[in-house]
Amino acid sequence: MAKVAYYPGCALKDRSSHLDRSARDAAVRLGFELDELETWTCCGAVPPVSEERVMNLIASSRILKSVRDSGRDTLVTICDFCYNTLKRVNYRIRNDEVARRRVNSYLAEEAPQRDYIEKDDSPWNDYLGEVRVLHLMEYLRDVVGYDGIAKGVVRSFKGVRIAPYYGCVMLRPHKEIQLDNPENPSIIEGFVEALGAEVVRYPYRTECCGSYLSVSSPDTSTRLCYRILTSAQQHGAQAMVMSCPLCFHNLDTRQKAISEAYPDFRPIPVFYFSQLLSLALGVGVEDQGFEKHYVDVTPVLEMIRDGSGRVDTE
């Protein structure tokens, strides 16, 4: 089975472990393995903007260098924050010569103490940004292909109306991310269609959910999420799909606060793309971690049918 280097990140090891698990299950059914890096650290969660703070590039650079040194050229990640950070740091290393020199001189200096990462005795090579950072969604689109997904689908999502939600860091800033059109993306739409479900198009799919403001000013995030969810519902959505752990938290768990603040609000089930994928590929419902969801997902599960056409909620 083809192996691809995989960086899970902190959230997928803990609060969003169901994203990690369903992605691994789905990958196996599609014929590749998400091969977790042997050692990894936090990526930093947000990339540094300021030119002089080169220190904040170190953690991500170290991860990327360890991938390159192990002879691989591609790193797959799922969390949008990790994707954004790793990709932007890589971009900076490729294009900013001063930052590249400073980061590498630091990494070279710490290398002797970090022999658990630098296992081989090969001569020192500066990291020049050789690794390609891919979002799993991107890997599904470009390497597996939507046809490849459609071939493996054993459960039918026919008639289920699903609203893709992108959020911010998966697409932006476009200059550095280059995943899809930042204003009119289609990557999740294509994925939903590959599963056989109906795509719901609505105006708020790339609007911010409040991100980490959920922690510092929860009411703001509640307002933004209400706007996004009701917009999707008004366009007929029965479920939402996304890839970011923080968006998921804001759009799922926050529905409790939204229901309290807005009496007219009706809850809507929220899924990770990997959950829908692994469900479609035949992984059991009990392996999806639905107990971690705040909103009950049963109404959607009841619409999913297997080959014989009967309702499949087991």
């Binding site: 990140g9 902190c10 959230a11 803990d14 609060r15 969003s16 936090c42 930093g44 969660a45 947000v46 903007v49 300021s50 030119e51 002089e52 969390c79 924050f81 990790c82 959020g167 911010c168 860091v169 932006r172 800033p173 476009h174 930042p182 204003e183 790339t206 609007e207 911010c208 409040g210 991100s211 980490y212 403001l213 959920s214 922690v215 510092s216 000013s217 929860p218 009411d219 703001t220 509640t222 307002r223 933004l224 752990p245 923080l246 998921f248 938290h249 768990t253 603040a261 807005y262």
Partner: protein
């Protein structure tokens, strides 16, 4: 709680430019830290019209750019806007002059924190939130909004 009325222009006192309000070297420092050129902003307002959080802000993003051009440091680092910005990059993507406006916001936060203006600390977090928010949210909020 209800939605605040739309984009009513914030009622702020007229900007006064004199040696007490204009900070020498501020514009240059913002340019250096962010790697952008503030002077390339021509006040089209695209950033403010696309900002999902504009209705919560006391100074709209295009006005932030203008005040920064004029060197009005105190007004900016004591504004609510820089802490309300969620760094969603909508303004950056839409700027016709290619300015990374979110990067300028980040720079203003950094300068504010250097001056001892802090916004959010670990003691302010709601315990229920701390137990449920995924880690990128916690790391993000401390990295962006706290010293």
């Amino acid at each position: 709680m209800s939605d605040k009325p739309g984009l009513a222009p914030p009622k702020s006192p007229p900007v006064r430019l004199n040696r007490n309000t204009v900070s020498a070297g501020f514009k240059k420092r913002v340019n250096e830290l962010s790697g952008e050129n503030l002077d390339s902003c021509y006040q089209c307002g695209n950033c403010s019209s696309g900002c999902p959080l504009a209705q919560e802000m006391d100074i709209l993003p295009n006005r932030v750019m203008r005040l920064a051009q004029l060197g009005l440091k105190d007004e900016l680092i004591h504004s609510a806007t820089i802490w309300i910005c969620a760094s969603c990059f909508q303004c950056t993507v839409r700027c016709p002059r290619g300015i990374d406006i979110q990067g300028v916001m980040d720079t203003l936060r950094q300068i504010a924190m250097e001056e001892g203006v802090d916004h959010f600390g670990p003691d302010q977090i709601d315990p229920e939130q701390a137990a449920t928010v995924p880690q990128p949210g916690l790391v993000g909020v401390y990295r962006k909004l706290s010293t």
